[in-house]
Structures are given as structure tokens and as C-alpha cells.
Symmetry: C2
Subunit: 349 residues, 2 copies
DNA sequence: CACCGGCTTGGTAACGATACCATGTACGAC
DNA sequence: GTCGTACATGGTATCGTTACCAAGCCGGTG
């Protein structure tokens, strides 16, 4: 049974092997495989038969060497898909890539600019046609340089400070301003802010919206309630507990992404922290949605947008550049986001 | 300002360009770039300087043409990352790939065997060194063929019927048998089964565990409570409502993956369906975990395993084959899974 | 002083696929 | 019957890189 199997791995069949078996020249076989036309039905049949018999698959690396050949690869760099948000973005990119007959090659930067720069190099070496990136930091010279060198790039969700690059953002500032504004209008004050460090542009923008809402309401932002930090779960839980233990606990929390929201929720729902009169329970407003937000037994407002559409849009910007010969000035688009009320009322039976 | 920019896209610098600028032969430049040693410090410095100045990145496609060169690419095919479960698997694969100095190239089969077969061809054409697949169906001749042709492959989570391929499974049958058995021991009967169609091996195996538990308890499986179907949310919600509306509603639900669990939960938590005496509320046991399972106001037991570890293990099996010259018989590994009690008690205050 | 050995450097060919051009063939038109 | 044209096929060169071999240079040794 097993004796027929080669011990060494079988060499992959080449176009020449197919041509030999079909009794034609490699050139004719190439035309058939590449579906270029101008080959008789007879030969086409023979070549296809030989290719099938040998299990031939074209060597993309070799094809790619010829000038003017497209790799059909789109590079994607996201920070981490631990957060389902980025999985959605990735899904949108993939859908757009597929529509354009492209394959995606994915890297995860884990929010590390060094890793991100390495990935850009590596993907570039693999002859990707374009790149979609969720940049780790606002300061990203490697991305600016790649764009300048002619690589079609689009940034998704976050932007960078220097460099002329297509970018798809979310209406962070406006939506946060509106929703935090509502809290202040209700007289909720002070409001705690938990978000990423300002080197991350979304975190910075969401904080800006938070500040603007306060300015609108004529209220000072109390810095004792502001925490700009990585969204590491244990740290978020600890910080939330600290805030709740203050002499004047926050009347509401604003969380700048779903990682913060979830872990703040964990503390707010902790049975040890029971808000005897229901009205004194802090309100929670968070950016980004998360699965099961509708089933959580705590009232919360989430500022939501379509992450998949965002990914798709970014990919389409990249593809637009791939398909056009000239360099056009970079575009920045902003996707709408909207506050959605979620959560079951606790103990309301 | 903008006038200096070329209208046409700049040609990428080649190794020859670097060599010319450094005043050495392409061969010497190649040695420096490839870190092969045997080049004087002086030349090394010059080549690196030139490479940096030109923004040179090696053309991987050209390098790859030479015989015996590895692409450094690992192909990954998952069904969809809409389900965070597969994002975890992907993350595990990526971690293992990174440890081995490999990049991953990802495709989504959307559970369509035809798409999956296309992806295998396409990835193979890109000279991937190996492949990690969550197969869409148990019947997958394209995967068996690829393995037979010498492609290092590992299957993750699901298996295929024919073909000799390394596989990492989860202890579906045993864990389901145990947990469903507990329900039956408590006298819960009938138990509804909601899971995927049996062409998906995990769905089939989890159903097998469900049946075994009944056999153990000497109880007949009542087919009126069994639904094998795609996990499309609206359909799951509808089916759950139908089951609850039966003359004898199920005393418990078993859901074969987290998509089913979540949508069954949505119905069970619907305020219109209120279980006046708490004990009559159906119990829920589900396979796979999901984020926020701990915050859901409904008692549930989830059969959990480490999806990231599973992905990593599958990748390591593929890498093992990549690194060994001979063909060894395929391995099947089974990861443990364990029932975990979750969920807040409703209205328990 | 001749020779040897080690070290550095460069020339050449080849990987697999395809663009370009040249050649061959068949058939219709005058 | 000859020529032209359209179509089918094949030969050759080439893409960027690196393995292999050859050659040059140096210092040391007999």
C-alpha cells in the first residue's frame, strides 16, 4: 500500500512537464493555462488533460518575475484579531479583495511599531500590490515612506501624523461629543474616561470628543478621572475599582473601545458592588460594539459603526490606487457612527 | 513641492541597483543582503548603505525561483472569522508561524468546499510551505490530494473522511457525553439538540456524544427535538421559539457551537418568555465559549477548550512535516475540553 | 623565491513562466 | 494558380536572485 509513495517529497510539476506530456511546446501550454486564447480546441484539451493528470499548479513566483505581472496579493496589517472588531475589519478587506480577484496576506502588529515596520518590509518583498493597515501608532515613518515610494496604501480606523496616505476614519470626535454631552446634560458629573494612550489616534480623537463635550457644557474635565492606558484586562479592572472607591465616584464611565467597555462592565456587574438605589449606578457609554452587548444586564450606550464596511472601504481605496496609473492626492474619509442603547435593565422584574 | 514626484510609479530597486551604487558585483550584494558571510566589513557597510538609501527590499518571488528555497509562507484556510473562535485559532497559527520565522497567508472558505478547493490551488501556486485548514466538509478530496502530493497539511478542529492527514481535534464526543449525561441524571428530558449539519465533522461528533449520553442513561433520543441546520441567526431563533412552543417544551438545550448558543440565549432571555417558577427554565449546555459568557444573566454550562492552543498545535504539526524529509504516517491529536459553569442567576436579588 | 592556503570577489548559468517575434499552415479571393 | 491573410505554434530572451566555480590577492612557510 505505502510502498509506492516516494520517500523524498515529489518535485512539483512544471509547465514544461505539462507541455511534454501534452506533446506541445511550453509556450502553447502557457497560453492554455493562462487562458490567453489563440490555441486550437484539440491542443487546449490535451494541455488541460495533462495539467490535471500531473496536478499542475502554476508557479506564481516564476510568473511574477516577468515585468508588469501582478501578484494578486493585498497585504493587510491589523493590530490584533483578539478583538473581534479587527476580525470584522479583516472580513471587509477580504470581501473587497475577493471581488477584485485578489488574495490577502495578513500580518498582526500586536500594536508594536517595530513589528509593523518589519511586516511592511516583508510584505513588500512579497510583491504585494497594495497594503491596508491599522497603524499601531500615529508616528509611523515606515508607512509614510512606503506610500512615498509608490506603494498603494490605505489606513483603516486610525491615521498617522506625517505622510500622505489614504485614510478611512470613524466619526470619533463628533459621536463622542454628542453622547458624552448627553450625560453632562443629564447632570452626570464627574465622568470617568478610560481609553488608550494618545499615541493611538483613535484614543486621542475619542479623548478630544470627550473634552469638547465638557467645553460645550461649560464643565471642566477633572483629570483625576482620566486614565489613558493599555487595555490590559487586569489593569482596567483595577483602575475601575479605584475610580469607584473614590470619595466622589464617577457618575458615568466613558470607555474608548470595546476592550475597556467589557472590563469596566465586569466590575460594574460584580455582585459585591450593588447600587442600592438604581439611579446611583454609574452610566456607561462606550465606543465600538461587542457581541452580546444586547444581553448584558446593565444599561449601556455604545457608539457603533460598521467595521466590515470600514475594512471594505479601505481596501477599495487601495485598489483604486492600484488600478490608476497616476498619483492622486490622498483622501481621508469618515464613516458615521451612532450611539445605540443596549443592555437589559437589572432586577426590573 | 509635488513636482518632484514621478507621474508613473517608481520601478522597484533591484539587487543590481544596490550593487552598482555600492560599487560591487551583484553577487557580493546578494551575500550581504542574505547575510551569508565571507564579505569584508568595508563592502558590507557600503552595500547596507546603498540598500538603505534606495529603500531596497529583496524580491522574494525571484529568490523563490531558485531550487531549494523556502517561501516562508504558511497557508491558512478557516471557514470564517466572523466567529471569534476562528480568530483565536488563527491567532494560534500565527504565533507558531512567527516562532518558526514564517508569514501566514489566509483564506476564508465561508464553509464552501468549492471555494476551499480553489484556495488550496491558489495557495499552492504561491509556493506555500505548508497548510493549516479547518475543512468545510468531511468530504474533501482536494485536501486528501494535496496531502498525497506531498504538501504538509494539518487539519484543525475538524477532520475529513478519506485521506491521510495530520489532524488536531477536540474531545467533542467525550465532553458532550459527560455534560449531557449530567442533564439526564438530573432528570432533564427531553433535551433539544441544535447543531450543524452532519457533513461538518464537529457537528457530527457532538451529536454522537449527545446520543451516547442518552444511551448511557437508557433514554431514547427524541428526534422531534433534534435540529441539524446551518447556524444562521434568524433560523436558530425561529427554531428555538418553535421548540419552546411544543406541548412538552425541552427541559434543556444542547447547542453544538457558540453561534447556536448565543441565539438560543437571545430567545431564552427574551422578556416575553418568562419562566415563572425559576426551576422550569430550560437549562443550556453549549459547545465552545464566547466572550462575555460570564456576564450573561442566564445560567449556562459551556464546554470549553483553548482554541489558540489548537491552532498552534495544528501549525506545529505542519511545521514538523516541513522540517522532516521523510513521510511519516499521519497523526491525530485530541485536545481536552471541559465543562465550565457560567452566567449570572437571573432575578436572584 | 616559489608555492600553498585561506579569504574575498566576480562571472556565469539556472530556476519557471511568458512577451515578442518568427515560422508554418490553411483557406479564400482574384 | 498565386498571393495574402488570419490563425496556430514554437524559439528565444528575459525577469531578479543565488549556487557554483574560478580567479585574484594576501601573508606565511619551506
Amino acid at each position: 500500500m505505502e510502498q509506492g509513495a516516494d520517500i523524498a517529497r515529489a518535485r512539483k510539476p512544471t509547465l514544461k512537464d505539462v507541455a511534454n506530456m501534452a506533446g506541445v511546446s511550453p509556450m502553447t501550454a502557457s497560453r492554455v493555462i493562462g487562458d490567453k486564447g489563440g490555441v486550437s480546441a484539440e491542443m487546449t484539451r490535451k494541455v488541460h488533460a495533462a495539467a490535471k493528470k500531473l496536478g499542475y499548479a502554476r508557479n506564481e513566483a516564476a510568473r511574477l518575475m516577468r515585468p508588469g505581472q501582478r501578484s494578486g496579493l493585498l497585504g493587510v496589517i491589523v493590530t490584533n484579531i483578539d478583538n473581534p472588531y479587527y476580525a470584522q475589519v479583516l472580513l471587509g478587506v477580504e470581501a473587497a479583495a475577493k471581488d477584485a480577484g485578489r488574495q490577502i496576506i495578513t500580518g498582526f502588529s500586536h500594536n508594536d511599531p517595530r513589528l509593523e515596520a518589519e511586516l511592511v518590509r516583508d510584505l513588500s518583498a512579497r510583491q504585494i500590490e497594495g497594503l491596508i493597515v491599522v497603524p499601531a501608532r500615529a508616528d509611523a515613518p515606515h508607512l509614510a515612506a512606503a506610500a512615498k515610494a509608490g506603494m498603494p496604501i490605505a489606513l483603516a480606523s486610525r491615521s498617522i501624523n506625517h505622510g500622505r496616505v489614504d485614510t478611512v476614519l470613524v466619526d470619533d470626535i463628533g459621536a463622542v461629543r454628542t453622547e458624552v454631552g448627553k450625560l453632562l446634560d443629564e447632570g452626570r458629573h464627574p465622568i470617568a474616561f478610560l481609553g488608550g494612550e494618545p499615541t493611538i489616534t483613535t484614543a486621542a480623537r475619542r479623548y478630544a470628543g470627550f473634552v469638547q463635550a465638557h467645553t460645550d457644557a461649560g464643565v471642566e474635565v477633572d483629570q483625576r478621572y482620566v486614565r489613558q492606558m493599555p487595555s490590559e484586562p487586569a489593569a482596567v479592572v483595577r483602575v475601575t475599582r479605584e475610580l469607584l472607591a473614590m470619595d466622589e465616584p464617577p457618575a458615568a464611565f466613558f470607555t474608548a473601545n470595546n476592550r475597556f467597555s467589557i472590563n469596566v462592565l465586569r466590575v460594574l456587574l460584580d455582585p459585591h458592588a450593588r447600587w442600592t438605589p438604581h439611579s446611583t449606578a454609574p452610566r456607561l457609554v462606550g465606543f465600538d460594539t461587542f457581541e452580546l452587548a444586547d444581553l448584558v444586564p446593565y444599561p449601556l450606550t455604545l457608539i457603533e459603526h460598521d467595521a466590515q464596511a470600514l475594512g471594505r472601504l479601505a481596501a477599495e481605496l487601495t485598489l483604486r490606487r492600484i488600478n490608476s496609473a497616476e498619483r492622486t492626492p490622498p483622501i481621508t474619509m469618515t464613516m458615521p457612527s451612532v450611539g445605540v442603547v443596549h443592555g437589559l435593565q437589572p432586577n426590573s422584574s
